[in-house]
Symmetry: C2
Subunit: 335 residues, 2 copies
């Protein structure tokens, strides 16, 4: 029923091979007249190639998988969106997948491995073992990872939060804060077991400034998880001067919780988040945040992937980018 290459070829009175040459090869030696006839007929009967067949025949698809752990999180969708532009700009197709953590915190890679793509880009791959991953090849497919956790032996674009986390704490200190708490999720025992650069930056700065570290630990990074913990912390210990938040999403949740206990976020309690999500500037108060250099991350990731697709045997490629502190009303109180 579907119109296949053969249909086109038959109508045009040529062999499959010639039709294929016309439809793909730009520089294939085909008579001008033949080429035009084939193209015309293909358009007439609305031929679209069967990608599965193509993939099987060539072993390539000109498609990459973009793999995100939680598409709904504003930051992920920001990266995914930008990466998508980068991929399509380079004339590749893409398919996006959203993989939740499994119950035990591991990832199920089997589905994506069998999918016919030339490579995969993983956004915010969690620290820990990914089954089938070795030397930047995931089940034999080139893989590049983007994220804020160190990963070894994998092509990886690493955003180092440490320097700017420290800067954020110093900034909060400079506007008068002395009790600066770190609001952080602890899903799957992540906290402390992972090498959280934010934590490193935070602790370094706190120590240098001679302050006491203070932690407010939520079960995970979902907004609903923040309010109750924060409110009970405040009830028990009183409110800190400032909250350094694991990400902007949590900042937003914290902001709401503060209001619910009668505190004004940005005035009574200063806030700094991480990521630089789209909302940060539009929120009220406008959020001070440690911004990830998303466009640069994506550009580098693509370079890495393109290289590895061309030659799977090149050595591991890694690059560290630094984040940037963007100061707004939520930490200055000026809004």
């Amino acid at each position: 029923m579907r119109v296949s290459l053969r249909c086109v070829a038959e109508r045009a009175g040529v062999s499959d091979a010639t039709a294929s040459r016309v439809l793909n090869g730009v520089d294939a030696p085909v008579a001008r007249e033949t080429r035009e006839r084939v193209l015309r007929i293909a358009a007439e009967i609305g031929y679209t190639p069967n990608l599965a067949a193509k993939a099987l025949a060539t072993g390539r698809t000109k498609t990459v998988a973009l793999w995100s752990v939680n598409l709904r999180a504003p930051h992920s969708s920001q990266v995914v969106y930008c990466m998508r532009d980068e991929i399509m700009k380079n004339d590749y197709d893409l398919t996006i997948s959203d993989f939740k953590f499994r119950v035990d915190g591991a990832l199920d890679t089997s589905r994506i491995i069998s999918w016919p793509v030339d490579g995969v880009i993983a956004v915010d791959l969690p620290r820990g073992d990914v089954p089938g991953l070795s030397n930047s090849l995931l089940g034999g497919k080139p893989l590049v990872s983007i994220g804020a956790y160190v990963l070894e032996n994998v092509d990886h674009v690493y955003v180092d939060f440490a320097p700017m986390s420290a800067a954020a704490v110093r900034h909060l200190h400079s506007v008068g804060c002395r009790r600066i708490a770190y609001l952080v999720p602890n899903w799957f025992e992540w906290f402390r077991s992972a090498d959280d650069a934010r934590l490193r930056g935070y602790e370094t700065a706190i120590e240098q400034l001679g302050l006491e570290p203070e932690f407010i630990v939520t079960e995970n990074e979902v907004r609903a998880a923040v309010g109750p913990v924060l409110k009970s912390h405040i009830a028990l210990h009183g409110a800190p001067d400032a909250l350094f938040c694991f990400n902007d999403n949590m900042t937003i949740a914290a902001s709401r919780a503060l209001r619910e206990v009668g505190l004004i976020p940005g005035r009574d309690v200063k806030l700094v988040g991480c990521d630089g999500i789209d909302d940060s500037a539009d929120f009220y108060p406008p959020l001070t945040t440690v911004v990830q250099p998303v466009e640069e991350m994506c550009a580098v990731a693509w370079t890495f992937l393109a290289r590895r697709i061309k030659d799977p045997d090149i050595p591991v490629q890694q690059m560290t980018l630094t984040a940037k502190l963007e100061i707004r009303g939520s930490s200055t109180g000026d809004f």
Copy 2:
């Protein structure tokens, strides 16, 4: 290099056919002993099926494409996320695509058509012709659409904004507003040419209440497009009492713009948006919004698609769901 079915079969000393039967058919007649041997060997050498080959051989993939026009928009990602759960719950795989409008406002469907999937679910398909779409088949593939615009001849889950838009306007009237403007994007001459149910609801209610309609039209629905237009409108005509916004995303942008000209959103100018995005409750002021019944939409969409995959010839399936007005501080001033 890849381990194929043949590798498994050879090692197990059986034919490809038998190996295939073991690996797929639950109820295929294979000797217990053989079955166990094949399974063991497949696991040992880490066999993963080649989906392209499978797709080619069977014509099916147990995969559906989830197609969104703008993944980065909070509302789209909400629907995509929920739809993803629904699809995976039903033991199908999915691949997500994000298609921007082309310059002329049309959509490029060719890529997705050739991709080996059993069906596609399109979120917020724009009104207008979609190439290759006829009778719920997109290039021969089952298609179900989810969205707030009427589409004929297509399996479609329609969210009717009209009643709740009218309710929103009446609500604003009841809290004392008399100048209620509609803040709406006009990308690609969309406004007025599309059958915008929000507009219908708005105009109906405005007329019934004996008020004057007032339009603030932005170039598109991107946040950056809102501020300048809104501010110059206010400079020219003064501020309205209330803004009924095309979506929550625009409400957030409007909120910021209002503050920038010294007005307090929710007090000086009441706000109602549409969609019910995740942010709406956490925003300050909390946003009154016309919520789409996302979970129900997704459940129905899946039912439609499953039916059509099973039998492409069934008559067109359509369902209309109604939105719900969720009242919060941005319209009551109580926050």
